[in-house]
């Protein structure tokens, strides 16, 4: 269950950052990304997938959340 810091880069895309693993990838897709919830399976630009129970209301970025590896 890595603890992940989510923030937007200069272009406004979400970055997925795991300090311990030296992993900083952009998020290419989020399963649920609506006005009242954010989460589900997220896919990163390197192809790996992580899961988080959808959070509602959607969190404000930057923030740190716990994800599970899919």
């Amino acid at each position: 269950m890595p603890s992940v810091m989510l923030r937007r880069n200069e272009e406004g895309t979400l970055l997925f950052y795991v300090a311990k693993k030296d992993l900083e990838e952009t998020i290419v897709s989020v399963e649920t990304d609506t006005e009242d919830a954010w989460g589900g399976t997220v896919e990163l630009s390197d192809g790996s997938k992580y899961f988080i129970e959808p959070i509602s209301p959607p969190p404000a970025f930057p923030t740190t959340l716990r994800f599970n590896r899919v």
């Binding site: 923030r7 300090a19 030296d22 992993l23 900083e24 630009s45 390197d46 930057p62």
Partner: protein
């Protein structure tokens, strides 16, 4: 030698790796690569931030060096205790040339070495009592210190001392900021983890205590983060920011103070120079206090211009005009520098091997002088550093991570650069090989190199080193081919 092709670079890597036993060869192969600009992610071509191979000569330092030496050391009005035996602090004392203003020993302490000087009995019975006592001694002898940090050396973690408890107690007794830092040298694979631990200590022990402190802010408050003021770097950066209308409220940590660190969560924008050593705290401040951060590069006029505009983007028209004004003001100055030195340096090829930000940040400054960086690498970089390097380096140039002494020498013999920029341990080896060398950690007793003022000094230094007549005297006259003497001797 002209530029190498990708095949040639790869062949060179293979050739150099050949002498290793198979297992070592496999391991080291992952750390060496020919640059491929088309890649977005470095993880496809290079592995970094791994344990160095036993038996090879590595150039890395330890976590204590990352915390005491890099992040905390320059905070000038705090006293940093090298907690443990005397050597770690004494042998690294004042080596980084972090310039500061103040009276050393009275209100500033950067170049001094404070240590608990562990003896056998401290190892056997524990050093907590001793720590308690030296904090009292420090208070008595140096009453103007603003706070104390306890920088753990290896034995502290091994014998299980509770420096946190002592620090908490003393902080209460003395009503001061006392920061225990668990940066024992054996943690992590290099000094890099020390940076991280030091960042976390600031988060936990400085910010928490500073909450609620009064501060009068302006809309133009920025901070300079990850500039250690080596040879005055932060100063030559700061004046540019101030000239364009910004207010620099903190310097981290070169010529910095505890109060500046405490004020940082009030800034409007954190400007991050050395990403590697201080990205952690910048990310934390973004999350907790909503302060955005951005990376910038103040080496060489091209990059400075880019950075000034990028910074100004984040502010209103007044600052944008300010940035243009600064750019215009310094243009004749740096153009004169380029006019003078470029003809003397044009086409020269450089190999770098340094730490945190320089393997990629300085490239632009060399290019401004018409030089080319043909090889670069980080002592303790991570993937994200290499991500940022790929685009800066030419295609098929050499990239080496945690290069070993042997590999570096072999690469140099084959690539034959005109100039090498690396650390003190490499300096004399390469100079004896007859190759001009600059010590690029502490600017070879020169500097600053940041900003426009720094660029002038940088250009002069490179010229001074490269075009020094001494390089012609490396080969004795009787060994020069074709000379009358060599013929006579044979």
């Amino acid at each position: 030698m002209s530029t190498m092709t990708k095949q040639e670079t790869e062949a060179l890597i293979q050739e150099v790796l050949e002498v290793y036993p198979e297992k070592a060869r496999k391991d080291r192969a992952k750390h060496l690569t020919a640059n491929d600009q088309s890649l977005e992610k470095s993880s496809k071509c290079i592995t970094s931030n791994r344990k160095s191979l036993p038996g090879v000569m590595t150039i890395r330092g330890c976590a204590y060096a990352g915390s005491r030496g890099v992040v905390w050391g320059p905070v000038k009005d705090m006293i940093h205790i090298s907690h443990g035996p005397v050597g770690c602090g004494q042998y690294s004392r004042a080596g980084r040339r972090n310039y500061y203003v103040g009276t050393t020993g009275v209100n500033t302490f950067t170049t001094m070495n404070f240590t608990s000087d562990f003896q056998e009995r401290d190892i056997v019975f524990g050093g907590d009592k001793k720590l308690d006592k030296i904090i009292d001694e420090i208070e008595m002898l140096f009453p103007l210190n603003k706070g104390i940090t306890v920088q753990s050396e290896c034995p502290i973690g091994l014998i299980g001392d509770d420096i946190e408890a002592v620090s908490k107690k003393k902080a209460q007794d003395l009503d001061k900021t006392i920061v225990p830092v668990r940066c024992e040298g054996f943690r992590g694979v290099s000094q890099s983890l020390g940076h991280h631990i030091a960042n976390d200590a600031i988060r936990d022990w400085v910010f928490s205590r500073a909450e609620g402190k009064e501060f009068e802010s302006t809309p133009y408050d920025v901070t300079v983060i990850g500039d250690y003021n080596i040879g005055g770097d932060a100063w030559s950066s700061r004046i540019l920011l101030e000239e364009m209308g910004l207010r620099v409220i903190a310097q981290w940590s070169g010529d910095g103070t505890l109060a500046e660190m405490e004020n940082t969560p009030k800034a409007k924008l954190n400007l991050l120079h050395c990403y590697r050593s201080m990205n952690y705290i910048s990310r934390h401040m973004e999350e907790k206090y909503g302060i955005p951060w951005m990376e910038y590069n103040f080496f060489g006029p091209t990059k400075i211009e880019e950075a000034l505009r990028k910074i100004a983007e984040r502010f209103d028209d007044k600052i944008k005009e300010g940035a243009e004004r600064v750019i215009a003001k310094y243009k004749p100055e740096w153009q004169a520098v380029v006019a003078k030195y470029r003809p003397r340096l044009e086409g020269k090829r450089v190999m770098l091997y340094v730490g945190g930000l320089r393997p990629r940040h300085i490239i632009g400054a060399y290019e401004d002088l018409g030089m080319e960086v043909v090889g670069t690498g980080y002592e303790f970089g991570h993937n994200d550093d290499y991500d940022r390097t790929i685009k800066e380096m030419g295609d098929a140039t050499l990239i080496y991570d945690d290069v070993t002494g042997y590999e570096f020498e072999e690469f140099v013999k084959k690539v034959k650069p005109d100039l090498i920029g690396s650390g003190i341990k490499e300096k004399y080896i390469f100079q004896k090989m007859g190759i001009p060398f600059r010590q690029m950690h502490s600017w070879d007793y020169s500097g600053p190199y940041h900003g426009y003022d720094g660029f002038a000094i940088f250009a002069r230094d490179m010229d001074m080193t490269l075009n020094n007549p001494c390089w012609d005297s490396i080969t004795p006259p009787w060994k020069k081919s074709g000379s009358a003497m060599s013929v006579a001797a044979e």
